[in-house]
């Protein structure tokens, strides 16, 4: 069960430690169902912390976004830890960053929050439109309880939970320094029914589906910016020489961008679904990511973000990898 008091107490203790720089958690957003990341620098800010079904943000993204300012001569760089609150999926992002040596284990303090599934804001806002004042939402068994301005409403989980949560296999953090409350049962078995359905179509049907989706892309790069695995300092999409992908938003460049983005996450995507959540034109990006995750899992028995000691998928090989596609 979620215990906010315990969460705030531990947050206070953590942020008061000498070796912790700040803590990243969640807080109430500016309106309605919105939730913002909360960067907590002192114990007095702990009261703002929340954890509810609305906390869908993956805070692991912020670990690699920390600005590294030049250090004045004679001074040592700030080597204190960053404490971060993670759900099950977010913890896999942290592990994957550790595998890739994107962050160091000594620089991060992980506070695990076992999670019973987060909401899909699009579904919620469709159900309760036009709500601007902050709302409280809680888990309660198979239901989600909404405390709205006009009364308390109960909604079954299946109707409002995000798609990725309905088939989630890792609701509990796979790695954490402290786990805040008891572990929860996983909701699904991580099947790939939607991917299999897509695979069975013929090339023309597949392309007409994806052409429609890709041509609506406005190339805002939100999906890249929010992705906890997209943290290259020199991104191939920003590079001008060589410029692999032009900046014009047409079907050719959009397809190239989408394929490149998906492929850069092959064997790395931890399926937190953030890209799809932030996409302003609703491209089913997770369908691409999940296709690659399915191949990696079924053909190579590999899953990213589970063991910090393992090697990244694409920089390792086995001599007997499958090669039935080779002429």
């Amino acid at each position: 069960m979620v215990d906010l008091e315990k969460m705030r107490t531990i947050a206070k203790e953590t942020v008061s430690r000498d070796d912790v720089r700040y803590l990243i958690g969640w807080r109430q957003g500016t309106y309605g169902f919105r939730v913002s990341p909360h960067f907590m620098k002192g114990p007095e800010e702990a009261e703002k912390l929340i954890f509810s079904p609305l906390c869908s943000n993956n805070l692991a993204t912020y670990l690699t976004l920390t600005e590294k300012l030049p250090v004045p001569r004679g001074e040592q760089p700030d080597s204190r830890k960053i404490a971060v609150m993670v759900k099950g999926c977010d913890s896999r992002a942290v592990v994957q960053q550790l595998i890739e040596k994107g962050i160091e284990r000594e620089r991060v303090f992980v506070i695990g929050c076992p999670c019973e599934g987060v909401l899909d804001l699009k579904k919620v806002e469709e159900k309760f439109p036009g709500i601007l004042s902050p709302v409280e939402v809680e888990w309660s068994g198979d239901k989600i309880i909404f405390t709205l301005p006009d009364g308390v409403k109960e909604v079954p989980k299946g109707e409002v939970l995000a798609k990725k949560c309905l088939s989630c296999r890792y609701p509990n953090p796979v790695m954490s320094d402290i786990t805040l409350w008891d572990e929860v049962k996983s909701l699904g078995d991580g099947n790939y029914e939607d991917v299999k359905e897509m695979e069975e179509k013929n090339p023309q049907e597949k392309w007409s589906f994806w052409k429609d989706k890709f041509s609506s892309c406005i190339r805002c790069y939100s999906c890249r910016n929010v992705c906890p695995m997209c943290y290259c300092e020199d991104c191939v999409l920003d590079r001008l020489n060589p410029q692999w992908i032009n900046r014009s938003a047409n079907i050719s460049e959009n397809s190239a961008f989408q394929l490149a983005r998906a492929f850069h996450l092959a064997g790395r995507c931890i399926e937190c679904g953030e890209c799809e959540r932030v996409c302003p034109v609703d491209i089913p990006l997770m369908a691409l990511n999940r296709k690659l995750a399915k191949e990696v899992r079924e053909q190579y028995e590999f899953e990213p973000g589970l063991d910090p000691e393992s090697k990244p998928f694409q920089s390792s090989y086995r001599p007997n990898d499958k090669e039935d596609f080779i002429l």
């Binding site: 090339p203 392309w207 190239a256 490149a260 092959a266 691409l288 053909q299 990898d321 002429l327």
Partner: protein
Amino acid sequence: MSEQFQPNVVAFLCNWCSYAGADLAGTSRIKYPHNLNVIRVMCSGRVNPLFVINAFQQGADGVLISGCHPGDCHYMEGNFYARRRFSLMNELLEYVGVEPGRFNMSWVSASEGAKWKDVVAGVVEKAKEAGPFDQFRRNKINW
């Protein structure tokens, strides 16, 4: 169309095996289709998936990547990485609706001039069957 469609196939050949194999096919006077545009790379592991996407954007109807047989790589393990990478690339391209015959990968060693001929004939045949690639080709802008 009275004339048969002649596809444009881009081939990335590894310097040590496939390029030498293609050379052997040439010096042995083996005839094979002329639709190939060969790009020599030092290893099949050098080929970035973006090269493939870019080739399709710039007018390729088919792409062939060819390297040493597994275990024969001049750099010990380059083709093992390439195999993993392009197996996924192949799946991804098929998933978005690129016809299965357009993307190909093969192992051709320096002594396999005859195999090289068969591989090229197969790849060109498949590209011909699939027809001109226009799914995400870059439009030429006439300024």
